[in-house]
Protein backbone atom coordinates (compact mmCIF):
# COMPACT_ATOMS: atom_id res chain seq x y z
CA UNK A 1 0.00 0.00 0.00
CA UNK A 2 1.34 3.35 -0.92
CA UNK A 3 1.79 5.39 2.13
CA UNK A 4 2.69 8.90 1.20
CA UNK A 5 1.54 11.69 -1.06
CA UNK A 6 1.67 11.50 -4.80
CA UNK A 7 2.84 14.85 -6.13
CA UNK A 8 1.75 15.53 -9.67
CA UNK A 9 3.00 18.22 -11.98
CA UNK A 10 2.79 19.16 -15.61
CA UNK A 11 5.98 19.20 -17.66
CA UNK A 12 7.30 20.41 -20.97
CA UNK A 13 9.98 18.28 -22.55
CA UNK A 14 10.64 14.86 -24.04
CA UNK A 15 11.63 11.41 -22.89
CA UNK A 16 12.85 8.27 -24.60
CA UNK A 17 10.32 5.60 -23.89
CA UNK A 18 9.28 2.07 -24.76
CA UNK A 19 10.97 0.52 -27.80
CA UNK A 20 13.42 3.42 -27.97
CA UNK A 21 11.01 6.01 -29.30
CA UNK A 22 10.94 9.59 -28.11
CA UNK A 23 7.71 11.21 -27.02
CA UNK A 24 6.64 14.57 -25.63
CA UNK A 25 6.23 14.40 -21.85
CA UNK A 26 3.30 16.33 -20.43
CA UNK A 27 2.96 15.06 -16.86
CA UNK A 28 4.98 13.68 -13.98
CA UNK A 29 3.95 11.83 -10.83
CA UNK A 30 6.45 11.80 -7.98
CA UNK A 31 5.90 9.57 -4.95
CA UNK A 32 7.69 7.59 -2.24
CA UNK A 33 6.45 4.02 -2.25
CA UNK A 34 7.28 0.38 -2.81
CA UNK A 35 9.16 -0.03 -6.10
CA UNK A 36 8.31 -2.45 -8.88
CA UNK A 37 11.90 -3.32 -9.71
CA UNK A 38 14.47 -1.67 -7.43
CA UNK A 39 15.69 -3.87 -4.57
CA UNK A 40 14.63 -1.59 -1.76
CA UNK A 41 11.56 -1.54 0.49
CA UNK A 42 10.71 2.03 -0.53
CA UNK A 43 11.98 4.29 -3.29
CA UNK A 44 11.37 7.74 -4.67
CA UNK A 45 9.52 7.05 -7.88
CA UNK A 46 9.03 9.32 -10.85
CA UNK A 47 6.70 8.58 -13.73
CA UNK A 48 7.37 10.80 -16.74
CA UNK A 49 4.22 10.38 -18.77
CA UNK A 50 2.04 11.51 -21.63
CA UNK A 51 -1.45 10.35 -20.57
CA UNK A 52 -2.96 11.38 -23.89
CA UNK A 53 -0.80 8.77 -25.60
CA UNK A 54 -1.91 5.98 -23.26
CA UNK A 55 -0.46 4.11 -20.27
CA UNK A 56 2.60 2.82 -22.16
CA UNK A 57 3.86 6.35 -22.84
CA UNK A 58 5.77 6.39 -19.59
CA UNK A 59 9.35 6.45 -18.39
CA UNK A 60 9.58 5.20 -14.83
CA UNK A 61 12.47 5.78 -12.42
CA UNK A 62 12.85 4.25 -8.93
CA UNK A 63 15.60 5.77 -6.77
CA UNK A 64 16.69 5.24 -3.20
CA UNK A 65 16.06 8.27 -1.02
CA UNK A 66 19.78 9.13 -1.00
CA UNK A 67 20.00 8.78 -4.77
CA UNK A 68 16.95 10.98 -5.22
CA UNK A 69 18.53 13.71 -3.09
CA UNK A 70 21.76 13.42 -5.08
CA UNK A 71 19.77 13.77 -8.27
CA UNK A 72 17.99 16.88 -7.00
CA UNK A 73 21.39 18.41 -6.14
CA UNK A 74 22.80 17.45 -9.54
CA UNK A 75 19.87 19.02 -11.36
CA UNK A 76 20.25 22.21 -9.32
CA UNK A 77 23.99 22.31 -9.97
CA UNK A 78 23.54 21.79 -13.70
CA UNK A 79 20.93 24.52 -13.91
CA UNK A 80 23.08 26.93 -11.91
CA UNK A 81 26.09 26.29 -14.11
CA UNK A 82 24.29 27.59 -17.17
CA UNK A 83 23.93 31.30 -17.97
CA UNK A 84 20.90 32.64 -16.13
CA UNK A 85 19.52 34.02 -19.37
CA UNK A 86 19.17 30.50 -20.73
CA UNK A 87 17.43 28.99 -17.72
CA UNK A 88 14.99 31.73 -16.82
Amino acid sequence: MCTYATVQTTLEGSAKGPEGSWFAVTDAAVYFDHPVHALAEHTLNIDFAAPAKGPAARVAVELTAAAARDLVAAIQAALESAPAALTA
Binding site: M1, Y31, A49, P51, P55
Partner: protein, 247 residues
Protein backbone atom coordinates in the same frame (compact mmCIF):
# COMPACT_ATOMS: atom_id res chain seq x y z
CA UNK B 1 -6.14 -34.52 -5.62
CA UNK B 2 -3.81 -34.07 -8.55
CA UNK B 3 -1.86 -31.05 -9.62
CA UNK B 4 -3.41 -30.60 -13.05
CA UNK B 5 -4.90 -27.19 -13.66
CA UNK B 6 -5.94 -24.88 -16.48
CA UNK B 7 -5.19 -21.17 -16.43
CA UNK B 8 -6.31 -18.57 -18.94
CA UNK B 9 -7.42 -15.02 -19.52
CA UNK B 10 -11.20 -14.63 -19.68
CA UNK B 11 -13.70 -11.81 -19.86
CA UNK B 12 -16.24 -11.35 -17.12
CA UNK B 13 -19.10 -8.96 -16.52
CA UNK B 14 -18.05 -6.35 -13.99
CA UNK B 15 -19.61 -3.27 -12.49
CA UNK B 16 -22.47 -1.73 -14.48
CA UNK B 17 -22.47 -4.69 -16.85
CA UNK B 18 -19.12 -3.70 -18.32
CA UNK B 19 -16.85 -6.42 -19.64
CA UNK B 20 -13.42 -6.61 -18.01
CA UNK B 21 -10.43 -8.89 -18.23
CA UNK B 22 -9.76 -11.53 -15.57
CA UNK B 23 -7.27 -14.33 -14.98
CA UNK B 24 -8.88 -17.69 -14.22
CA UNK B 25 -7.28 -20.88 -12.92
CA UNK B 26 -9.23 -24.10 -12.39
CA UNK B 27 -8.05 -27.48 -11.09
CA UNK B 28 -8.98 -30.74 -12.77
CA UNK B 29 -10.45 -31.99 -9.51
CA UNK B 30 -12.22 -32.27 -7.09
CA UNK B 31 -15.41 -32.25 -9.19
CA UNK B 32 -17.26 -29.96 -6.78
CA UNK B 33 -15.29 -27.10 -5.26
CA UNK B 34 -15.33 -23.64 -3.82
CA UNK B 35 -14.13 -20.50 -5.53
CA UNK B 36 -11.69 -17.74 -4.59
CA UNK B 37 -11.67 -14.19 -5.92
CA UNK B 38 -8.15 -12.75 -5.69
CA UNK B 39 -7.90 -8.96 -5.46
CA UNK B 40 -4.54 -7.77 -6.74
CA UNK B 41 -2.29 -5.37 -4.88
CA UNK B 42 -1.80 -1.75 -5.84
CA UNK B 43 1.02 -2.61 -8.30
CA UNK B 44 -1.63 -4.31 -10.35
CA UNK B 45 -2.62 -7.43 -12.20
CA UNK B 46 0.92 -8.73 -12.38
CA UNK B 47 2.86 -11.98 -12.59
CA UNK B 48 3.02 -12.38 -8.80
CA UNK B 49 -0.75 -12.08 -8.50
CA UNK B 50 -1.32 -14.60 -11.28
CA UNK B 51 0.98 -17.01 -9.45
CA UNK B 52 -1.28 -16.65 -6.40
CA UNK B 53 -4.34 -17.42 -8.56
CA UNK B 54 -2.69 -20.60 -9.84
CA UNK B 55 -1.74 -21.58 -6.31
CA UNK B 56 -5.39 -21.47 -5.24
CA UNK B 57 -6.24 -23.74 -8.17
CA UNK B 58 -3.49 -26.10 -7.07
CA UNK B 59 -5.14 -26.06 -3.63
CA UNK B 60 -8.40 -27.25 -5.22
CA UNK B 61 -10.33 -24.02 -5.80
CA UNK B 62 -11.54 -22.29 -8.91
CA UNK B 63 -9.75 -18.96 -8.65
CA UNK B 64 -10.08 -15.70 -10.52
CA UNK B 65 -8.47 -12.27 -10.41
CA UNK B 66 -10.24 -9.41 -12.17
CA UNK B 67 -8.01 -6.76 -13.71
CA UNK B 68 -9.21 -3.77 -11.70
CA UNK B 69 -7.30 -1.35 -13.93
CA UNK B 70 -8.77 -2.66 -17.18
CA UNK B 71 -10.92 0.40 -17.79
CA UNK B 72 -8.05 2.88 -17.37
CA UNK B 73 -5.44 0.82 -19.16
CA UNK B 74 -6.73 -2.11 -21.23
CA UNK B 75 -3.90 -4.29 -22.42
CA UNK B 76 -1.18 -2.20 -20.78
CA UNK B 77 1.77 -3.64 -18.90
CA UNK B 78 0.81 -4.08 -15.23
CA UNK B 79 3.22 -1.42 -13.98
CA UNK B 80 2.05 1.10 -16.57
CA UNK B 81 -1.57 0.32 -15.72
CA UNK B 82 -0.85 0.78 -12.01
CA UNK B 83 0.81 4.14 -12.65
CA UNK B 84 -2.20 5.26 -14.68
CA UNK B 85 -4.63 4.12 -11.98
CA UNK B 86 -2.56 5.82 -9.28
CA UNK B 87 -2.60 9.11 -11.17
CA UNK B 88 -6.37 8.79 -11.46
CA UNK B 89 -6.85 8.25 -7.71
CA UNK B 90 -7.23 4.48 -7.68
CA UNK B 91 -10.27 2.25 -8.08
CA UNK B 92 -13.57 3.75 -6.88
CA UNK B 93 -15.12 1.67 -4.09
CA UNK B 94 -18.48 1.31 -5.83
CA UNK B 95 -16.83 -0.02 -8.98
CA UNK B 96 -14.70 -2.40 -6.93
CA UNK B 97 -17.79 -3.92 -5.34
CA UNK B 98 -19.37 -4.34 -8.77
CA UNK B 99 -16.30 -5.98 -10.24
CA UNK B 100 -15.81 -8.38 -7.33
CA UNK B 101 -19.51 -9.22 -7.41
CA UNK B 102 -19.15 -10.03 -11.09
CA UNK B 103 -16.13 -12.24 -10.42
CA UNK B 104 -17.98 -14.10 -7.65
CA UNK B 105 -20.98 -14.65 -9.93
CA UNK B 106 -18.67 -15.96 -12.64
CA UNK B 107 -17.19 -18.52 -10.23
CA UNK B 108 -20.62 -19.59 -8.98
CA UNK B 109 -21.75 -20.10 -12.58
CA UNK B 110 -19.04 -22.69 -13.27
CA UNK B 111 -20.31 -26.29 -13.41
CA UNK B 112 -17.73 -27.23 -10.78
CA UNK B 113 -18.96 -24.69 -8.23
CA UNK B 114 -20.25 -25.82 -4.86
CA UNK B 115 -21.81 -22.36 -4.49
CA UNK B 116 -19.26 -21.05 -2.02
CA UNK B 117 -16.94 -18.19 -2.86
CA UNK B 118 -14.31 -16.49 -0.76
CA UNK B 119 -12.31 -13.35 -1.41
CA UNK B 120 -8.71 -12.46 -0.62
CA UNK B 121 -6.82 -9.24 -1.20
CA UNK B 122 -3.32 -7.95 -0.71
CA UNK B 123 -2.15 -4.40 0.07
CA UNK B 124 -4.88 -2.04 -1.20
CA UNK B 125 -6.73 -5.27 -2.05
CA UNK B 126 -6.82 -6.17 1.64
CA UNK B 127 -9.05 -3.21 2.35
CA UNK B 128 -11.04 -4.02 -0.79
CA UNK B 129 -11.55 -7.59 0.42
CA UNK B 130 -13.19 -6.27 3.59
CA UNK B 131 -15.18 -3.76 1.52
CA UNK B 132 -16.45 -6.56 -0.72
CA UNK B 133 -17.44 -8.70 2.26
CA UNK B 134 -19.44 -5.78 3.68
CA UNK B 135 -21.41 -5.37 0.46
CA UNK B 136 -21.65 -8.79 -1.21
CA UNK B 137 -22.76 -12.30 -0.30
CA UNK B 138 -19.43 -14.03 0.17
CA UNK B 139 -18.61 -17.03 2.33
CA UNK B 140 -15.20 -16.02 3.66
CA UNK B 141 -12.87 -13.02 3.38
CA UNK B 142 -9.12 -12.65 3.86
CA UNK B 143 -7.42 -9.30 4.43
CA UNK B 144 -3.66 -9.35 3.88
CA UNK B 145 -2.26 -6.12 5.33
CA UNK B 146 -4.89 -3.82 3.91
CA UNK B 147 -4.44 -0.21 5.03
CA UNK B 148 -7.28 2.07 6.05
CA UNK B 149 -9.90 -0.43 7.02
CA UNK B 150 -9.48 1.61 10.19
CA UNK B 151 -7.43 4.77 10.62
CA UNK B 152 -7.61 7.89 8.50
CA UNK B 153 -5.82 8.39 5.17
CA UNK B 154 -3.53 11.44 5.37
CA UNK B 155 -3.95 14.55 3.27
CA UNK B 156 -2.55 13.96 -0.18
CA UNK B 157 -3.07 10.21 -0.02
CA UNK B 158 -3.12 9.07 -3.66
CA UNK B 159 -6.19 6.86 -3.37
CA UNK B 160 -9.53 8.58 -3.03
CA UNK B 161 -10.74 6.38 -0.20
CA UNK B 162 -12.10 6.54 3.32
CA UNK B 163 -11.80 3.96 6.05
CA UNK B 164 -14.45 1.26 6.40
CA UNK B 165 -15.36 1.71 10.06
CA UNK B 166 -18.95 2.73 9.29
CA UNK B 167 -19.41 -0.33 7.06
CA UNK B 168 -18.09 -3.01 9.41
CA UNK B 169 -21.53 -3.56 10.93
CA UNK B 170 -22.48 -4.95 7.51
CA UNK B 171 -19.63 -7.45 7.34
CA UNK B 172 -21.36 -10.68 6.38
CA UNK B 173 -18.52 -13.18 6.09
CA UNK B 174 -15.95 -14.50 8.55
CA UNK B 175 -12.71 -12.55 8.23
CA UNK B 176 -9.13 -13.81 8.38
CA UNK B 177 -6.58 -11.04 8.84
CA UNK B 178 -2.83 -11.46 8.25
CA UNK B 179 -0.59 -8.58 9.30
CA UNK B 180 3.07 -7.70 9.81
CA UNK B 181 3.94 -6.10 13.11
CA UNK B 182 6.48 -3.83 11.41
CA UNK B 183 3.90 -2.47 8.99
CA UNK B 184 2.94 1.19 9.33
CA UNK B 185 -0.14 0.97 7.08
CA UNK B 186 -1.89 -0.79 8.71
CA UNK B 187 -0.04 -0.23 11.95
CA UNK B 188 -0.45 -2.61 14.90
CA UNK B 189 -2.72 0.05 16.42
CA UNK B 190 -4.93 0.02 13.31
CA UNK B 191 -5.16 -3.77 13.57
CA UNK B 192 -5.98 -3.50 17.29
CA UNK B 193 -8.81 -1.12 16.46
CA UNK B 194 -10.22 -3.43 13.78
CA UNK B 195 -10.01 -6.39 16.16
CA UNK B 196 -11.81 -4.43 18.87
CA UNK B 197 -14.62 -3.23 16.58
CA UNK B 198 -15.25 -6.69 15.14
CA UNK B 199 -15.24 -8.22 18.62
CA UNK B 200 -17.72 -5.63 19.89
CA UNK B 201 -19.98 -6.29 16.92
CA UNK B 202 -19.79 -10.05 17.29
CA UNK B 203 -18.27 -10.55 13.84
CA UNK B 204 -16.38 -13.84 13.42
CA UNK B 205 -12.75 -13.05 12.75
CA UNK B 206 -9.29 -14.49 13.21
CA UNK B 207 -6.13 -12.39 13.10
CA UNK B 208 -2.51 -13.51 12.87
CA UNK B 209 0.27 -11.00 13.33
CA UNK B 210 3.90 -11.64 12.51
CA UNK B 211 7.08 -10.26 14.02
CA UNK B 212 9.95 -9.54 11.62
CA UNK B 213 7.41 -8.81 8.88
CA UNK B 214 6.14 -5.56 7.48
CA UNK B 215 3.98 -4.70 4.52
CA UNK B 216 3.78 -7.06 1.53
CA UNK B 217 5.42 -10.04 3.24
CA UNK B 218 3.74 -12.43 0.78
CA UNK B 219 5.46 -10.80 -2.22
CA UNK B 220 8.07 -13.33 -3.25
CA UNK B 221 9.68 -10.98 -5.79
CA UNK B 222 10.23 -8.05 -3.43
CA UNK B 223 12.60 -7.30 -0.56
CA UNK B 224 9.56 -7.23 1.76
CA UNK B 225 9.13 -11.02 1.38
CA UNK B 226 9.34 -12.86 4.69
CA UNK B 227 9.38 -16.58 4.23
CA UNK B 228 8.31 -17.55 7.77
CA UNK B 229 5.34 -15.18 7.82
CA UNK B 230 4.32 -16.06 4.27
CA UNK B 231 4.51 -19.81 4.88
CA UNK B 232 2.48 -19.59 8.07
CA UNK B 233 0.05 -17.21 6.36
CA UNK B 234 -0.58 -19.71 3.58
CA UNK B 235 -1.25 -22.40 6.18
CA UNK B 236 -3.79 -20.15 7.91
CA UNK B 237 -5.47 -19.41 4.56
CA UNK B 238 -5.67 -23.11 3.67
CA UNK B 239 -7.24 -23.91 7.03
CA UNK B 240 -9.68 -20.97 6.87
CA UNK B 241 -10.90 -21.64 3.35
CA UNK B 242 -11.04 -25.36 4.09
CA UNK B 243 -13.47 -24.58 6.89
CA UNK B 244 -15.70 -22.10 5.03
CA UNK B 245 -15.44 -22.98 1.34
CA UNK B 246 -15.31 -26.76 1.43
CA UNK B 247 -18.10 -29.27 1.12
Amino acid sequence: MGDTLRAETVRITGDHGEEIEAYLACPADPPSRGGVVVIHHMPGYDRGTKEIVRRFAELGYDAICPNLYWREAPGADPDDAAATARAAGGVPDERLVGDIGGAASYLRSLPSSNGKVGVIGYCSGGRQSVLAACNLDLDAAVDCYGAYVTGTPPDGFPLKITNLVDQLANLRAPLLGLFGNEDLHPSPEHVDELDRILTEQGKPHEFHRYDDAGHAFFSTDRPAYRVAAANDGWERIIEFYGKYLGG
